[in-house]
């Protein structure tokens, strides 16, 4: 009946619709803090474990509850993340750990630190190493060399930690990329694939019915 006005309406609304879609696409790519998935990343540095929790997209989990369990599932300690989503703690005992972060509203993430990553000298508080290097005082040879070895190992570990810290941070940041275009298109493709499957099954059944009716 009123075919033409409808077509005209549709045409002008196509522009509105198109722009709405564009706006939402821009929103999709510009704003990237989201609250569905919590990524936890933890690394050991000396006797301290640093944890970083982010929503996928890179925004830190503010004031999230951090629960530390050993691998048997008994709780060792708990705390809360700061404004950047970070929380650090001294290693309480030499064991592998599971770090669970709960960001409220049903969001949760976890990260496991195997025992091999835990610093073997963790429970011992760090001793400040003298800057002059190994002392050359007259001690018994064996004792002196063992102390030196210890100190060298300690210095090595400290400088390694210092050097690797930024690398680990980079790793943590590169881990949580939001969904890519491939993911989005893949999902949409699956939906339409399922649609095709359902239509195929349904119409095959229908044609069979029609054929059997013709025969009968």
């Amino acid at each position: 009946m009123k075919k033409f006005p409808a077509v005209a309406f549709f045409k002008c609304h196509k522009i509105i619709f198109g722009s709405a879609c564009l706006v939402s696409l821009c929103l999709m790519w510009s704003v990237s803090a989201m609250a569905h998935r919590v990524n936890v990343f933890a690394w050991v540095e000396g006797g301290t474990v640093h944890t970083e929790s982010k929503f996928s997209g890179g925004k830190g989990v503010k004031d999230g509850e951090v629960l530390i369990y050993d691998l048997e599932g008994s709780r060792l300690l708990s705390g809360r993340t700061d404004a950047q989503g970070e929380f650090s703690f001294r290693i309480p005992q030499k064991t592998g750990m599971k770090i669970v972060v709960q960001a409220g509203m049903g969001h949760r993430g976890e990260w496991t630190i195997p025992l091999s990553e835990i610093d073997p000298r963790a429970p011992i508080p760090e001793t400040p190493v003298s800057q002059e290097g190994p002392s050359e005082t007259a001690q018994s040879g064996a004792a002196a060399s063992s102390v030196n070895l210890d100190q060298i190992r300690h210095i090595l570990e400290q400088s390694l930690d210092r050097r690797l810290g930024p690398v680990l941070k980079l790793l943590a940041e590169s881990r949580d990329r939001g969904p890519t275009l491939q993911d989005i298109l893949g999902g949409i493709g699956y939906v339409f694939g399922l649609m095709g499957l359902a239509a195929y099954v349904h119409f095959r059944r229908k044609t069979r019915q029609i054929e059997s009716q013709k025969e009968g």
């Binding site: 929103l27 989201m34 998935r37």
Partner: protein, 201 residues
């Protein structure tokens, strides 16, 4: 809106799966097969909508679009939302496989409820239909938030406290979804009124 894995207790997860399975079975039974392309388009829209974020305060929430899905598909919202959520959990790691049942109930049940409440109003004149559509979009999100609170209440968080938090966080989404639903309904009324419930030739 997506509850992560490892938060809810077993009974809650199982009842979620049972409810979602029942809803999906009814939805598939009632789904008109000539409408499969429509269902697929809505499923794809729902799938992508979760990537559209609205920044509020410290975190952000995303579009859900369950109101419009329910309004156009009725009980068919269950299978459509189930498929979209399964894909979201695989591709985006939103929610998870074990929480798929619960998450489906969270988003599809309010959609179906709102369909039954508003289906007769949407077919009427724009003065009634548009506010009804707005409310449909708003309430679909609101009830979803309430179900999230309910699911969380069985583990440790207090029901009222949890629901209050989730509802508060979703207020902007409720309003935006209401507007989007009203816009879609206005658009469909002009272009393809037979897509909406309560359409009389």
């Amino acid at each position: 809106m997506h509850i992560s894995e490892g938060i809810l207790s077993g009974p809650v997860l199982i009842s979620g799966i049972v409810l979602a399975a029942a809803g999906t079975a009814i939805g598939l039974k009632k789904l008109n097969y000539d409408r499969i392309p429509r269902a697929a388009i809505l499923s794809a829209s729902f799938f992508v909508a979760s990537l559209v974020h609205i920044p509020i305060g410290p975190s952000s929430v995303h579009l859900i679009l369950n109101g419009i899905v329910g309004l156009i598909l009725g009980c068919g919202a269950f299978p459509v939302i189930l498929v979209a959520l399964a894909l979201q959990s695989v591709f985006f790691q939103f929610g998870g496989i074990t929480t798929l049942g619960v998450n489906t109930v969270i988003m599809a049940l309010p959609a179906v409820l709102c369909y039954y409440v508003f289906r007769n109003l949407v077919g009427k004149g724009p003065r009634i239909a548009l506010p009804a559509a707005f409310l449909c979009g708003l309430l679909s999100v609101f009830f979803g938030a309430v179900i999230v609170g309910l699911a969380l209440a069985f583990t440790e968080e207090h029901f009222l406290k949890a629901s209050y938090l989730v509802v508060m966080a979703h207020i902007p989404v409720m309003i935006i979804e209401g507007i989007i639903t009203a816009f879609c309904v206005a658009f469909l009324k002009k272009v393809q009124p037979e897509m909406l419930p309560g359409y009389v030739r």
